[in-house]
């Protein structure tokens, strides 16, 4: 691969190799070897050096690539990727070679300047210097960025995220450099070198970033320079350099190690020194040094491994997982020395089990499912390069381990940050990490000789990866504290007696009971969540538990960090086509065993080369094996056609009704504003189509003086008046588009036509889009009344509050479904905005989006004057909608361990085959759920894995595969199943099932089923697990909120009866249930209630100089409210700030800016920006809440006496409402059912 890269660049081969690693110029190579000392002196020195001579170093990756490959970049994406790869590879190496460095990198991503550096410049040294700064900054800034990246390695991602505000995440990919034209991706594949961390597409980012970086962080650069040295010196001796240039696979020998080593140590030292210069960071650098130092004593054998739990972590991805775990368990305090409690045994067992699992699981299933239509085999036979650096490594490792182990306990920092939410990977770990590092003796740096380490540790690991892991887990067992958690989760709770069930902070996903090492790499619960974090061994056990088994996925959500891999060969299981992932086992150097089907596969040659460490024979250090979430740049094998450009068609209702509602003006304004932010590249195309009783096309061809409207009045047989001028290149016709958008609102302001020919308009849109595929955005304001797909009003307003079940929840015609399937087949996604004040039969219309993987937005009673709240929501949603990331022509496949199977899917998509979802468009805000069943006993395995692979075309025309892998333990005890139950996930899955049931059967059936779910659970628990003779409703603590959530579900618009609910709103609520990600859905179902007027600093988060108070959650009951308080209810899509009648005057004055309660306006919908500390705190809290969701929520200030308070009180689900029981009544009902 390298060779090919060289050719492209037309560089001299020898020089090139060097280039790849650190810089492109041949000069570098020499300096690296000899120059190392120079670097040592100071970062500044090295820095200039690097920049000027080669240009590569200092310059961001882009630059590098540019000079070398001018021709390449523009024409073919291939080249771009190449460049990237080299960079990325380097960067990668940095990360992975030194576990520590990785961390640093990641952290650096947080801190602004450093972050930029890491991605752009692969150079290993970066880690050293970079990490420390990052850490420091991290504390302050990490939270700002909202979500801590969980994948440490993807520094480049970090960069992006860092640069772009969270809201703009969607654009990350979009911003990919123009350099990479979409089509090239396929052909380029062969050319590409191995793994490039930074994806080619983002090269542009790099470039920009790098520029920043270079300027800002001089120190980093020098370290970087050092890094390259490491790289090539370590894995391959200096002599081998040429070999590098060749192909990784071909590279025969690791022989050079000794010589290389000698050189390497120096580098390390240097780097260390550089890092030392930063006072704060010195600790980190030391640690890295320490690793090096360890080597000399390397003689220590495996025993040491045992002793040092930390070693793995450090080695592989750095300390993060260690800290990570710790954080979870004991956020505030440093962990106590690990006294393994009884529970511990379980842990170790699990971990060991996991280890062994792969072994026994054995029989490779020969059943080959030939793969996805789109995904075809990469033909790779790993040729065996016999060369393996087998030798000396092990000793080094051990010593290292021992060191780390010693330091470990200290490492835990009491960081306030840790208390924060979810993502364990990200922020938490970092802060904690550092301290640990720091503690290490600086002396380590001195012992330089062991470059080998990197390679060596790898050996050990794969030779015996699991044992060491298990040992680790054992050592850490005490720390991990899982047993305690489990005990707590199993504590029987008598619901009739315990009333305060809510945790003070929003509930977190339960931690699967895995070995720390697996936990560290496991997929983020925000992306991938299972209802049972311990998978029951058999279907019988599952049935006994009476809980649904299923997954909740949010595969395309905006990520802060994401390792992107460009590789010739995407390594996959030959039989089940699973992508290689962190949970596979390496049997030896050349073979790995699939964790889903247990087939033994060859490791392709290319995979043997680890670009991070620049070493050969360390497949377990590859990013694919280090991250549960990775993204591959796919080759042409994964394309059925050249990647499509981003194509957007807007279909606008301009009938009289629409004009009355007045949405058109705001839509046009919003689109005008965001025209440049539409995801896409130079090929982006847009088109417009309006309709009333006729269909209007707009000719926007470049060169016209103004947009030309073409009216087609034959709606029975729609034809396209002109084929190439209706969908136009946005860049070329931008002025015309702007013209059109400014004139559209006035053009139809006098329209008196009341009919709506939506069906024919959609047919026209389909015809217009079918050559390319893309996204159709439909705005509709009334019931379609003309042409195909016309609908009748089916709602009987008198039945709105009927308790007898609700009719017409399903579609009235199959027209929309068929059209949606046609669209899906042509890769067209249809998004529906329904802004209607009348019944518009959403149940039928929604089909158009449901089966084409679109999204649905509904604004009941939308009117631009009369309903400002809806207008504001519409505008905000629209902005997010237009600018969010988008993936085209996507398919997603969900694979799971043999024995498990998927039997039902929930969400918006078309299920094309048993496990393949066809998604014409994929957006970052939609989630999916699947129900699973256990077909064969899982007794021969102790781990169950799930892999979701999303193959899509980015808006930049890159074919990409995003792979998430989740690993969970398999248990055979009912109590373990209960201990691992994830009550939120269960609730969401049940909600999805209930929606299905209510459509296919009836609403009352669905409601009964939900109540029965609670009854069954209580019965099952009573009869099987709890041996207490307690009377009352006893459930395990892990599920103590289950009845409450079910009750809340029953009171949702989607499922409630007896309360007047318009059919469209009900149907929309159902659609939301199917597509909202879990966190959002839980906020809708069970809103978070906080008291705001007496927020204290206790437990507050400190983010970037702002203090975010963390008031405790309150139960949703009126008894928790008081007249002298102010309460905030977070309903997911809206905030309600309820002001009590006797509310503290100070609060009203300082926060709302009104002199008294009486003067608070009735329809207040914002919080004024006042300079008072209270106001700042409240706003900080609001912002913090807001940052955790994709669509911004509107704020409603509700006075106690206002009519609006009805909505507020409706959400107090624990109270009795006009037609539904209160929580205690519900419990009594359940108890009655149980005792029957």
């Amino acid at each position: 691969m390298w060779a090919s890269g060289r050719e492209d660049r037309a560089m001299s081969a020898p020089g090139f190799t060097n280039l790849n690693s650190s810089s492109s110029s041949s000069q570098d190579s020499t300096p690296n070897g000899g120059a190392a000392p120079l670097y040592q002196n100071g970062p500044a020195q090295t820095y200039p050096y690097m920049h000027t001579p080669s240009g590569y170093y200092g310059a961001p990756p882009q630059q590098q690539s540019y000079p070398t490959i001018p021709a390449h970049s523009t024409p073919a994406p291939n080249k771009a990727p190449i460049m990237n790869r080299s960079h990325s590879a380097n960067y990668y190496q940095n990360n992975q070679q030194h576990p520590l460095p990785q961390h640093h990198v990641a952290s650096s991503a947080y801190s602004a300047p450093p972050s930029s550096a890491p991605p752009s410049q692969p150079y290993t040294t970066l880690h050293y210097s970079a990490p420390p700064p990052s850490n420091a900054q991290f504390n302050q800034q990490s939270f700002q960025q909202q979500n801590p990246p969980y994948a440490t390695p993807g520094s480049y991602c970090g960069q992006q995220s860092y640069h772009t505000p969270p809201a703009q995440h969607s654009q990350q990919q979009q911003q990919q450099p123009s350099l990479v034209p979409a089509p090239a991706g396929g052909p380029g594949a062969p050319l590409y070198p191995i793994v490039s961390y930074p994806s080619a597409p983002r090269s542009s980012h790099y470039g920009t970033l790098s520029s920043y970086q270079s300027a800002s962080t001089l120190g980093v650069l020098p370290t970087q320079t050092g890094a390259p040295l490491h790289q090539y010196s370590t894995p391959r001796s200096a002599s081998t350099q040429p070999g590098h240039s060749v192909a990784p696979s071909s590279q025969p020998t690791v022989n050079g190690s000794t010589a290389a080593q000698a050189i390497v140590p120096r580098h390390y030292d240097q780097s260390h020194q550089a890092s030392l210069s930063y006072d704060s960071y010195s600790g980190a650098s030391h640690s890295s040094g320490g690793a090096d130092a360890d080597r000399p004593p390397s003689g220590t054998p495996s025993a040491s491994v045992h002793s040092s739990p930390g070693h793995h972590q450090e080695f592989e991805k750095g300390a993060c997982h260690l800290t990570f775990i710790v954080c979870y368990l004991f956020p505030p305090h440093p962990p106590p020395p690990p006294p393994p409690p009884d529970g511990y045994v379980a842990n170790s067992g699990a971990s060991s089990g996991s280890v062994t699992a792969s072994g026994p699981a054995a029989a490779p299933s020969s059943s080959s499912s030939d793969d996805d239509d789109d995904e075809e085999e990469d033909e790779e036979a790993g040729g065996d390069t016999s060369s393996s650096t087998t030798g000396s490594a092990s000793p080094v490792l051990n010593s290292f381990d021992s060191l780390e182990g010693g330091s470990f306990p200290d490492s835990l920092p009491p960081s306030s940050d840790m208390t924060n939410q979810a993502q364990p990977y990200s922020s938490y770990s970092y802060p904690s990490m550092q301290p640990a590092y720091q503690q290490r003796p600086s002396s380590h740096t001195e012992s330089s000789p062991s470059h080998n380490q990197y390679g060596q540790p790898g050996y050990q690991q794969y030779s015996q990866p699991f044992p060491s892991l298990s040992q680790l887990s054992a050592a850490l067992g005490g720390l991990s504290g899982v047993p305690e958690l489990e005990v707590e989760a199993l504590r029987p709770v008598n619901l009739l007696q315990e009333r305060n069930l809510l945790p003070p902070r929003p509930l977190e996903a339960p931690e699967p009971n895995l070995s720390p090492d697996l936990k560290k790499v496991n997929c983020s619960p925000q992306t991938f969540r299972c209802t049972l974090s311990s998978i029951p061994q058999t279907q019988a056990l599952l049935n006994k538990a009476r809980l649904p088994l299923g997954l909740l996925l949010h595969p395309f959500r905006d990520l802060q960090q994401l390792p992107v891999i460009t590789s010739n060969t995407i390594v996959r299981c030959r039989s089940c086509r699973t992508y290689i992932n962190p949970f596979i086992t390496f049997l030896d150097q050349r073979r790995w065993k699939c964790n889903l089907c247990y087939r033994v596969n060859d490791v392709p040659d290319e995979f043997m080369y680890n670009p991070v460490t620049r070493s050969y024979g360390e497949p377990h250090k590859r990013p694919e094996v280090q991250n549960a979430t990775v993204e591959f740049i796919a080759s042409s094998d994964y394309m059925l056609r050249p990647p499509q450009p981003a194509v957007y068609l807007f279909v606008l209702d301009v009938s009289h009704n629409a004009v009355e509602a007045g949405y058109l003006k705001f839509f046009c304004e919003s689109l005008l504003e965001n025209l440049d932010k539409l995801p896409g590249d130079t090929r982006t195309r847009v088109g417009f189509l309006t309709f009333d009783n006729t269909i209007h096309f707009y000719n926007l061809q470049e060169g016209l003086s103004q947009p030309q409207m073409l009216v087609v009045s034959d709606i029975d047989d729609v034809f396209i008046p002109s084929h190439d001028s209706l969908m136009v290149n946005l860049k070329e016709s931008k002025e015309l588009v702007q013209d059109l958008l400014t004139s559209l609102p006035t053009m139809f302001s006098q329209n008196r036509e009341t009919h709506s020919a939506l069906g024919p308009a959609l047919q026209a849109a389909f015809k217009l889009m079918s050559p390319t595929g893309g996204r159709v955005t439909v705005f509709q304001t009334q019931l379609p009344s003309l042409g195909a797909g016309m609908l009748q009003s089916r709602e009987d307003p008198n039945q709105r509050s009927s308790t007898k079940g609700v009719q017409h929840l399903g579609p009235a015609t199959d027209f929309y479904k068929k059209l949606a399937l046609d669209c899906s087949g042509q890769q067209i996604g249809v998004d529906l905005f329904l802004l209607s004040s009348q019944y518009a039969d959403l149940a039928s219309l929604a089909c158009i989006s449901k089966y084409s993987a679109g999204s649905i937005f509904y604004y009941p009673s939308f009117h631009y004057i009369h309903n400002p709240a809806q207008l504001e929501k519409f505008q905000k949603d629209l902005e997010r909608y237009l600018t969010r990331k988008i993936g085209f022509e996507a398919v997603m496949r969900i694979r799971c361990t043999k024995g498990l199977s998927i039997h039902t899917f929930h969400g918006n998509f078309f299920v094309r085959s048993t496990d393949l979802l066809s998604l014409a468009n994929v957006n970052p805000d939609s989630a999916f759920a699947v129900q699973m069943s256990i077909e064969d006993s899982l007794a021969d395995t102790s781990l169950a894995c799930f892999q979701a692979a999303l193959l899509y075309t980015s808006s930049k025309g890159k074919r990409r595969i995003r792979v998430h892998t989740l690993c969970l333990p398999v248990v055979n005890q009912l109590s373990d199943v209960y201990a691992g139950a994830d009550v939120q996930a269960i609730t969401c899955l049940l909600a999805n099932m209930a929606i299905d049931r209510s459509i296919s059967s009836s609403l009352s059936d669905a409601r009964d089923a939900l109540v029965n779910a609670v009854v069954d659970l209580v019965t099952a628990y009573k009869s099987s697990v709890s041996n207490l003779q307690q009377s009352g409703l006893v459930v395990p603590a892990a599920l103590r909120l289950f009845p409450l959530y079910i009750l809340a579900l029953l009171k949702q618009k989607a499922l409630r009866t007896g309360t007047s609910t318009r059919l469209d709103e009900r149907v929309f609520a159902m659609c939301e249930f199917k597509t909202q990600p879990l966190q959002q859905l839980m906020r809708i179902v069970h809103p978070d209630l906080y008291r705001l007027d007496n927020m204290s600093e206790q437990g507050a988060l400190h983010l970037n100089n702002t203090v975010v108070p963390q008031p405790p959650l309150l139960h949703l009951s009126a008894e928790r409210l008081s007249r002298d308080g102010a309460f905030l209810m977070d309903c997911g899509d809206a905030f309600y700030l309820w002001i009590g009648k006797c509310c503290n005057e100070m609060f009203i004055r300082d926060v709302l800016g009104c002199p008294s309660y009486a003067s608070v306006p009735p329809n207040m919908s914002h919080i004024p920006e006042l300079e008072t500390p209270l106001s700042e705190r409240v706003r900080a809290f609001f912002d913090w809440l807001q940052d955790n969701r994709a669509f911004s929520s509107t704020i409603h200030v509700v006075k106690d006496d206002a009519s609006a308070k009805a909505t507020f009180f409706q959400n107090l689900v624990e109270d009795r409402s006009e037609s539904a029981s209160s929580y205690s009544e519900f419990l009594q009902h359940v108890q009655l059912q149980v005792s029957k």
């Binding site: 499912s369 030939d370 239509d373 399903g810 579609p811 009235a812 015609t813 199959d814 479904k817 068929k818 399937l821 087949g825 039928s844 089909c847 449901k850 089966y851 039997h903 039902t904 899917f905 078309f910 299920v911 094309r912 085959s913 048993t914 393949l916 299905d996 296919s1000």
Partner: protein
């Protein structure tokens, strides 16, 4: 006369057997991912009504020729076919709906149904054959 009835029934039964086999093959193609759900369902939906007609035909034949036992044997299946066709929700494309066939084990139940029908038609086939031969001999 009797022989003619059974010959007709035999032919009808053969057609139904072929149809069942076709259903099974198509469904298993879908199961193995050789065709996609859309193609599969549109193929199968085309034959739902012919199948219903064929089944009704043999039922009516038996009724008209007053073979009560065979008529009662046929009746439930004909009724089931009819019921299944009636119960299709308005929004679905037919008995086989591509958007739902992979959900809730529908594919499996369709498969099971096709298998059972195949068995049933085979049984009928031999009954008809036997009756036909008997009728021919009696003639």
């Amino acid at each position: 006369m009797e022989a003619a009835v059974f010959i007709l029934a035999l032919v009808d039964c053969c057609a139904l057997i072929f149809l069942s086999v076709y259903f099974i093959i198509t469904l298993s193609d879908l199961e193995c991912d050789y065709i996609n759900a859309r193609a599969c369902c549109s193929k199968l939906n085309k034959w739902v009504i012919p199948e219903m007609v064929g089944q009704c035909l043999s039922t009516m034949l038996m009724l008209v020729s007053m073979h009560w036992f065979i008529f009662l044997l046929n009746l439930p299946v004909a009724a089931w076919n009819f019921y299944r066709h009636i119960k299709v929700p308005m929004g679905n494309t037919g008995v086989f709906d591509p958007t739902e066939i992979h959900n809730r084990g529908q594919l499996k139940s369709h498969m099971k149904e096709a298998m059972i029908k195949l068995g049933y038609h085979l049984l009928c086939f031999f009954i008809y054959l036997y009756s036909m031969i008997l009728a021919l001999i009696n003639d």
